[in-house]
Symmetry: C2
Subunit: 427 residues, 2 copies
């Protein structure tokens, strides 16, 4: 890891930089696939599944008996682990339920705000090297709690044309029945446009590689919303010598194994903690099955030593990390002053892995500095807020004249007249 | 207005269609202006202000004494009306404040969710034919309540190179000090990219013409968030003979005067109410200063008679209106079953104008069917949710083994190891 000592604020922007986005490069392919799916529907899906996943499917939709068969093959201890994670995720997301907000702003003027579920949502679960069933929990649990009527799940088939057993098991456990063996850009296009088999949805959720990321952004041209723009996963740890170096090293490596473009940053004001952490990284790295990936990510990663905690906090807020671990004697200072972070992990027994899987928080979080303006996925991500108002004769008399004056000042006479016709009757 | 009687569900999509978007056509100009502002900063702003607004400004930023001078020129009764509106808007948005959500999901596993303000936000206030000071209230009041640190407001100068007095007065009343005389695409580009004079923001809010709408979408390529995609304003009224036809006519016309592309729809199951409403429209239309605009919008508008309330409600949910007025004896049915609407106005004394100006609800709402997945602007629009977690030794022992199993099943050994190094010490 590269060590930077006491960097000046004018150099922070460079230290905050993420890998260059390749949006423009990927657009032509994404556009082509969307156009093909729009034109050819399910036939285009078959074509791209053959091309990219290398399999010919007799059926895109997972059939009911496949769920039952998969369940039998998932080990009992893994089922128990998933059950524990699901319980915690359910508990934390259910607690996010809010009541209707109602205010009588003036006598006879009642305004209220209610949340109603987004009726149709699409969940994208990446495939590739690992079956990411944990992401199903993170998306399906709040979607079901929110009351979404139609929940569609797409995930790419493996080389046998199947989805992993644990993916089917977890989907069924969450009550998701519409599961389709389609991945990549073509899955995003299908859920955006709708095909004969795959329903069109109103909002898309889930992580993915750079193609899926661009496809989700492209989908927004078709009146589909997305959970958030995504980029490679990130972790920033602020640490000092009070925490075992092996813990910090293990946390940094857990992020590094995601991909060579993963962003891993260690921030400290305690230069003495750096060498033992670096040594622990070297030791642990050798034992990792994905050490080639992790090594590349670690090589691009940064250790930054700041002169003061205030400077460190300013930098962290400028960076806006997706995951932010605090292992410091000055824990409260680093918690209270954080403005921009996706999810915060506090203390030496709180690794990022806990939130990735089982503590209850969501692991679908804003990357690439988007923590400055986006929330991670939460219960509200599956709801929209609507306002309501009801005004009686008294209320109209109270606020009507003000509306007339304001509409008149804005030059909108018909707006004024909608009040005047009523006030005339009430005079 | 065109009358459609008992349309079949297969024809509803056509009835729900909005004017075709012209995104692709406007992109080249928007891209050019963004590039120029990126390269030339404030000089590019001066150039485009001369070109599009026809004025040469000595200063882009509104100076402190200009606010004081404007205040003296705003009539007292208009100030009182603005104060009443601001009070109601403040009351309704303040009530939307939520508490921190905290759950101990397992003994020793504490998870919580907090909202923190988006630090830098930009408010765009359109100019053109009317000084839309009401939009300042709708955006600045919740931004200030949320605690946003830096609030930037841009609005195009008039032909004298000034902002209208009431715009400056309202901005100052809301506590907004950073006001810039820049409009259109160049204003959106400036707040997205930052110039020497205008700060870069994290999220952009506010309505605008089609150029501004495309510019906001373009801004999302530069890590800026936007409140929502926008389109021409819309109103759907469901009515029957129980309401005076003049009220329904006035409401439909208040929407129609916005622009020739405004969407106005009357839905009913009571065909008898249609002729009197049409007659009232004709009568009121003649007296409107903006009758040419309203006439065009009305010509393109639709009256749809449904066989049943159930069909009417299904249609309304498929349409997803920005504004939805219910003037019907079956009020409750039309309220309880609405799934997709921006803001709902109930009963004969609740014109849309009330929510546009003074009742307390926000008037920045999703158009073009986006009510299916977007909320209107509300307090949360200026906040982001962050999650936090703290786990102690007992908590780690409880959930650690489940994390190890799940990480292992996903093939992520470093994620597992982050738990294992801790559990080994706790064994």
């Amino acid at each position: 890891m590269n060590v930077y000592t006491h960097p000046q604020p004018e150099d922070w922007a460079a230290l905050c930089a993420r890998p260059t986005a390749t949006y423009e490069d990927l657009v032509p392919l994404v556009r082509q696939i969307f156009d093909d799916v729009a034109y050819d529907g399910d036939r285009a899906l078959d074509h791209y599944t053959q091309k990219f996943d290398g399999v010919e499917l007799s059926e895109i939709a997972v059939q009911p008996d496949a769920f039952a068969a998969a369940e039998l093959r998932v080990p009992k201890d893994l089922k128990a682990a998933i059950a524990l994670a699901k319980d915690n995720i359910t508990r934390f997301h259910q607690a996010q339920t809010t009541k209707r907000v109602q205010v009588e702003t003036q006598p006879g003027v009642w305004c209220w705000q209610e949340k109603r579920p987004i009726q149709k949502v699409g969940l994208y679960i990446p495939g590739g090297s690992a079956p990411l069933f944990s992401t199903i929990l993170m998306l399906a649990v709040p979607a079901v709690l929110a009351g979404c009527e139609e929940i569609v799940l797409c995930s790419p088939p493996n080389s046998e044309g199947q989805l992993p057993d644990v993916v089917l098991y977890t989907a069924a456990l969450c009550g998701i029945k519409k599961v389709y063996k389609v991945g990549g850009v073509q899955a995003i296009a299908a859920m955006t446009l709708g095909t004969t088999q795959i329903p069109k949805v109103y909002k898309l959720f889930g992580p993915g590689n750079q193609y899926v990321t661009v496809a989700k952004q492209w989908a927004t041209r078709y009146q589909t919303a997305i959970d958030m723009p995504a980029g490679p996963s990130e972790l920033l740890v602020v640490a000092d010598s009070s925490v075992p170096p092996a813990y910090v090293a293990a946390d940094l490596l857990s992020q590094a194994e995601h991909g060579p473009d993963s962003q891993v940053i260690l921030v400290t004001t305690d230069a003495a903690c750096v060498p033992p952490i670096q040594q622990a990284i070297d030791e642990q790295l050798e034992k990792l099955p994905r050490k080639d990936v992790a090594k590349k990510a670690i090589e691009n990663s940064k250790i930054i030593v700041f002169e003061s905690d205030a400077a460190a906090i300013d930098f962290i807020n400028q960076y806006g990390p997706e995951h932010y671990i605090i292992c410091s004697l000055k824990e409260d200072e680093y918690i209270d002053n954080i403005q921009n972070a996706g999810s915060v992990f506090i203390g030496k027994y709180t690794p990022e892995s806990a939130g990735d899987y089982a503590s209850g928080t969501n692991h679908t979080l804003p990357t690439n500095g988007y923590a400055k303006q986006y929330s991670g996925v939460n219960l509200d991500s599956f709801l929209k807020q609507m306002t309501f108002q009801k005004i009686d004769a008294q209320g109209m008399k109270t606020i009507g004249p003000a509306i007339e004056l304001m509409a008149d000042a804005e030059g909108l006479q018909a707006h004024k007249n909608a009040v005047t016709v009523r006030l005339n009757d009430l005079a």
